[in-house]
Symmetry: C2
Subunit: 452 residues, 2 copies
């Protein structure tokens, strides 16, 4: 198929109605004819777009011909539903068909009882590998890696390796390199398949393996760090070693693409005060996920209200102050959020080395932007209220407010980075609280001193 930018729309617009129609008619043959030729990724997408009754209909129609790969392509919330529709026996057959990393991803989504049942029904060798993978931390290299890989010895020739490929039926479906190991199964180098193919049959593996710039990672490494390494070195696969240096698996780039998406999404969602949320969560689940941050912000809003209440007398004497008092804090929050976003992103990319330099730069940027905005605000205020002193007060307050916002926009995430709290999640509420409270205090304080 040739994919235009509308590819999935087409899939959805042409195939989906046919499937829905076939489901309505309980036409098992049509359902199978439509589903079975699909790429697992497309089948997963189609399945996700159906409601739970129709999903059930599809699974029943496909019966034993359900392609295990589809499970690997489903997103978590949908997969959870699908898994409920599959019984122990189905899963015990499907899981061993998957690469071990995908099987682990599926199995970790089952509740504990079903997990045990399914594992018990899986052949011993597959089970041992899965159970071992499950002992690793979630989001560690050990969970992301697949166990299937090709290892060779350095004294073999290219020809020997190629001959082994012909004999061995147990090769992974997809691999891009062979790993060279010593007798203790510790990786000492790798040969990309392209290089293997370029060399004559009598060439020794040890003469062509990449060893000096050969990168391997630890099984405990966090997925975010692994993603950094893939990105930095432009890798397609990387070997994973355990604490004793033994080769235990390989991580492939397609899983890392998902990690990169996930991490970027998490930071984006955290900055807006949500935990990793999904379009497919139900209403009550969504409410529960979003409420905590809103509650924290309610606290912040009342702190600002308290600061304002300290100046009731001032406001009473000059009601125009109430009209414009929110302008500076609002702008300062925006400016501070810009700073914050840059810092959070730099953390994610592993790019911050010199905090002091950043603090200086961001504060200076805040000062310059603050000056320009304050000037404009002063002009508008003077024209509007015909009161030059009021204009000066709001202008001055705005500069100070924005400088403070940019300053704490660096300090807050840098400080949180040293705590167990994720800076992306907590920084913005701290920023808002400080910026608003400081902003109202400065503006109304200056007004009390100068205007009243």
């Amino acid at each position: 198929m040739t994919l235009e930018s509308q590819e999935s729309t087409n899939l959805m617009e042409t195939l989906r109605p046919e499937i829905v129609e076939a489901l309505k008619m309980h036409n098992v043959e049509d359902i199978r004819l439509l589903f079975l030729p699909l790429h697992a990724a497309d089948a997963a997408e189609l399945l996700s777009s159906l409601d739970i009754e129709n999903q059930k209909g599809v699974l029943e129609a496909l019966a034993d011909d359900l392609n295990a790969e589809i499970l690997a392509y489903l997103e978590d919330p949908v997969r959870e539903n699908i898994l409920k529709l599959l019984d122990r026996e189905d899963l015990a057959i499907l899981l061993p068909e998957l690469a071990s990393d995908d099987a682990v991803e599926v199995i970790e989504q089952l509740d504990e009882d079903k997990q045990k049942e399914v594992l018990a029904a899986i052949p011993a060798r597959d089970r041992a590998l899965l159970e071992q993978s499950l002992t690793y931390h979630e989001k560690s290299a050990g969970r992301l890696m697949q166990r299937e890989m090709v290892t060779v010895l350095p004294q073999w020739t290219v020809g020997q390796v190629i001959d082994i490929f012909h004999l061995n039926v147990d090769l992974p479906e997809i691999f891009h390199s062979v790993f060279v190991v010593d007798p203790q199964h510790r990786p000492i180098g790798m040969v990309p398949l392209a290089k293997l193919l370029r060399n004559k049959r009598n060439v020794l593996i040890e003469d062509i393996m990449e060893e000096k710039k050969f990168i391997k990672i630890n099984d405990e490494m966090d997925q975010e760090d692994i993603a950094h390494i893939f990105r930095k070195y432009g890798l397609v696969s990387v070997p994973v070693i355990n604490q004793t240096g033994i080769l235990v698996g390989v991580i492939m780039v397609d899983d890392i693409v998902d990690v990169i998406e996930e991490e970027a999404e998490q930071d984006m969602f955290y900055l807006s005060g949500m935990s990793s949320q999904d379009l497919s969560s139900a209403v009550l689940q969504t409410v529960k996920l979003r409420l905590p941050w809103l509650l924290v912000n309610l606290g912040a809003a009342f702190i600002s209200a308290y600061v304002i209440s300290l100046f009731r007398g001032t406001l009473d004497k000059m009601i125009n102050l109430a009209v414009i008092m929110a302008i500076a804090p609002s702008l300062a929050t925006n400016a501070g959020t810009q700073t914050l976003t840059v810092i959070i992103r730099a953390f994610a990319m592993g790019k911050i080395r010199d905090y002091k330099h950043l603090l200086n730069k961001e504060t200076l940027v805040g000062f310059l932007n603050g000056l320009l905005l304050a000037l404009l605000t002063m002009i508008i205020s003077v024209v509007w209220f015909k009161d030059i002193t009021l204009g000066l007060v709001i202008g001055l307050a705005m500069v100070v407010n924005i400088v403070v916002a940019c300053f704490v926009g660096v300090l807050i995430p840098v400080f949180l980075k040293r705590t167990p709290i994720d800076p992306a999640l907590a920084s913005s509420v701290f920023l808002t609280t400080i910026t608003d409270a400081v902003g109202f205090f400065i503006f109304l304080g200056l007004a009390s001193l100068i205007l009243i």
Copy 2:
């Protein structure tokens, strides 16, 4: 090297001081000894961490031994500096050493005159390919693809293909699949290298090639759509065809990893009101990049101030209204931003199909969260101000305000999607403006009706 999660810190902490020392001493031999064995990605990172004088020192010390790959790994702002330090002759030698996609990325960063000079100095065959790549839109498949690839005919045997690899010295450095073409050089299938190796020498290519689920893309396709396809199907490389169906290049996953990062970063930055900004931009550049959005927000803040000014009389009679009037708009903006972020993310992932469903869901989520928050706000307000009616007014205003925010949090990006404006960039300022203005109006309006 084994990489722990501190890998680049180590590189920076141990190697960098040595380099800086060697540069200070003008010790050319040491600089070369430290730099030459590095992976190009590490060399690029180290080079980026130096100031411009030291970068110059390194380039002079490396002279003709500068690894062209380093240019490919540098980020845009740093590369711009480095390119200024390299003359036409250097570049004419370095560029042909790069894969064509990397060469194009470098050359498009040169100013027009230098671009022409460098192109003129490059051998004719390489030049023709580069010039052709430059005719494609930035961010299109044509720009991202590399020209180097391996094509075979369907009637060849596996053995013939492997033999050709041994003869051909002009193979790409890295490739993961061979593409099968018809006599007109139109791609009709592909064979992953792993599959090639698994099959016996006398097997025909046409019998093992993947053709039914074989994905190819158009040379005009936008990089965001290409990233979708890589992600969805878990690809490592994909062939690119021109308008007449001829195979013209191949896009590799490492370039797509960069695209995914870029697109995620862009949405995250846009939501905070910045254009694709960089830590390495200078202060004045940063000010210029951030100011426009702040100016738009200043306009929004004055609209809110205007709304408040309509209720001067009401505020004058009851100054406590000024104390708490900002609470509901502040919470509503937060709730609306949550909604907005989910929608923007769903756009980026190509996952929105049913706007109506989303609108219902988000409005309902807003209503439920609004109820809970309003209840709490009422209780706090009644305790604080000993005024039950005031509590009822702010509670009611808050529910309405949050529902409106969540409603427009869906509508604004969906509407902007149909315009040339990027929803990620413009949605949040519209959201803030509407939410604040509506919020102040409802709260102060209700207060005028009920309390005064």
